[in-house]
Symmetry: C2
Subunit: 279 residues, 2 copies
């Protein structure tokens, strides 16, 4: 009863010519960026701007994270056609009350969110996160795995990356022009796995982008209690994470990091931090 | 006939405690992030997540860039009250057809946009940008001015900065948790200035964020024909800029840069680029 999905992967980079500071013309790679209009049971829902790596998982995760569908079984098929820039979602039973549930708009913090339908914040307090911890050694393993990952970012820049880990083992790495798309794609992928093996309990979510409230909430919705970023945190991200008991770890590069919330989930091993220095 | 505006500036950073890699607790600054719900003539329009530095200009620029008001004179007042997280906009004549004009949603590329109402792209082809050029020396002046700017980013990280320049003279510097907010704030500020002196013709727009289609379009809507960024460009940003003849300059740090479009607006002075090296 899993949905039927196309595999409409499109080229992720494109070459354009540019002029540099010496006045020379050169060819550089830039990330692709495509408009994908989502239709649910033939009703236009939203247009997403995306790199286009895994559009079907993106749409599935978007529907999940917007709470428009409650289980993956409700989705019969997702058909992406880049010729027309459309993703056609067919549900088994229709989505009741879709008009009302998509009416309220929130324009969220710039770097990597897009809009959130409805009042997600009201649902936050109902979320209970699984008990899980991460050791400092595992955290360093995660940071190192990301460093080694081949990526569109390395070849063309200007994309955000997200990854899902189990301990320090990388399960999935996703890039997109918006990090809200990357996390939605991960949500879609998790949903496709068997629910018994793919609960978020022992999972860690990594993002190159900032720890905003939306990233924290989406992680919590997926049942992932630990989020790691190379960037910092915003005030609402920190407040929501504290309320949820979700562990946020930012500024994670090399051996350094800052844990902003739920530090009890981080099993510190300061002896691994290396030579002590102050800047 | 300029609108009456409150000046509801709120604290831009907040101190929280964090745990570092040595297991030490320390106090760090993070950027503030507030929900600001915009009401136009008592009708709820949208909720913006913002740092809160200049909320009235943000709301004014948001209305402008969404094309919901055609001139600054249509706005009678903007009253921001952080106690309730609300911005009340009063127009002189009402906004006709506001339901239809805010119905279509586009979730734009992650890093720094928010949603765009209506079909902005359809309007792009009607925009004619003023003739203007920038010398390589002026470009270096802009990059240096940004480097010297005191900022929330330096003290707390996790914000985007935007600035408006006339040649290499900085007219305004704005930071926000989303760079779409920062550019909207600049748009609001420009609108408040006398139209005769504040057309975009000789202006240059700077952003720390990526050159996405939305940034390019918003710059073009403000009549600013040159955009500079320390980041790169996305495919749609590059395509729209080429169509508009808008000069986009990315990867601008120290003496380096890449001009992705309308290079004829950049008066090259390769002798200023310094010693030649290849990486």
């Amino acid at each position: 009863m899993l949905p039927s999905l196309t595999q409409a992967r499109a080229p992720l980079t494109r070459e354009v010519s540019a002029v540099n500071e010496f006045g020379e013309s050169l060819t550089v790679s830039i990330p692709a960026e495509r408009a994908l209009t989502v239709y649910v049971d033939k009703r236009e829902l939203v247009t997403l701007m995306t790199l286009g790596a895994q559009p079907e998982l993106l749409v599935l995760g978007f529907l999940r994270n917007q709470r428009l569908v409650q289980s993956v079984q409700e989705v019969e098929s997702i058909t992406v056609d880049w010729e027309v820039g459309a993703a056609a979602v067919k549900t088994r039973q229709g989505i009741s009350d879709i008009e009302a549930r998509t009416a309220k708009r929130v324009v969220t913090t710039g770097c990597g969110q897009g809009s959130v339908f409805g009042d997600l914040m009201a649902e936050v307090d109902t979320l209970v996160l699984p008990a899980a911890t991460l050791s400092q050694a595992q955290l360093y393993g995660i940071v190192n795995a990301i460093r080694l990952q081949e990526s569109t970012y390395k070849s063309a820049g200007s994309v955000h990356g997200c990854a899902l880990f189990s301990g320090e083992q990388m399960l999935l790495f996703v890039e997109d022009v918006g990090r809200h798309n990357a996390i939605d794609t991960i949500a879609g992928w998790m949903w496709l796995q068997d629910a018994a093996t793919m609960n978020g309990g022992d999972k860690v979510f990594y993002t190159t982008g900032r720890l905003t409230s939306e990233m924290v909430i989406k992680s919590a919705q997926m049942g992932v209690p630990i989020v790691v970023s190379r960037s910092g945190i915003t005030q609402m991200g920190q407040e929501v994470a504290q309320r949820l008991g979700l562990c946020t770890i930012g500024r994670a590069t090399n051996k350094r990091f800052l844990c902003y919330s739920a530090a009890e989930r981080l099993r510190l091993q300061p002896e691994l931090a290396g030579a002590r220095y102050r800047i």
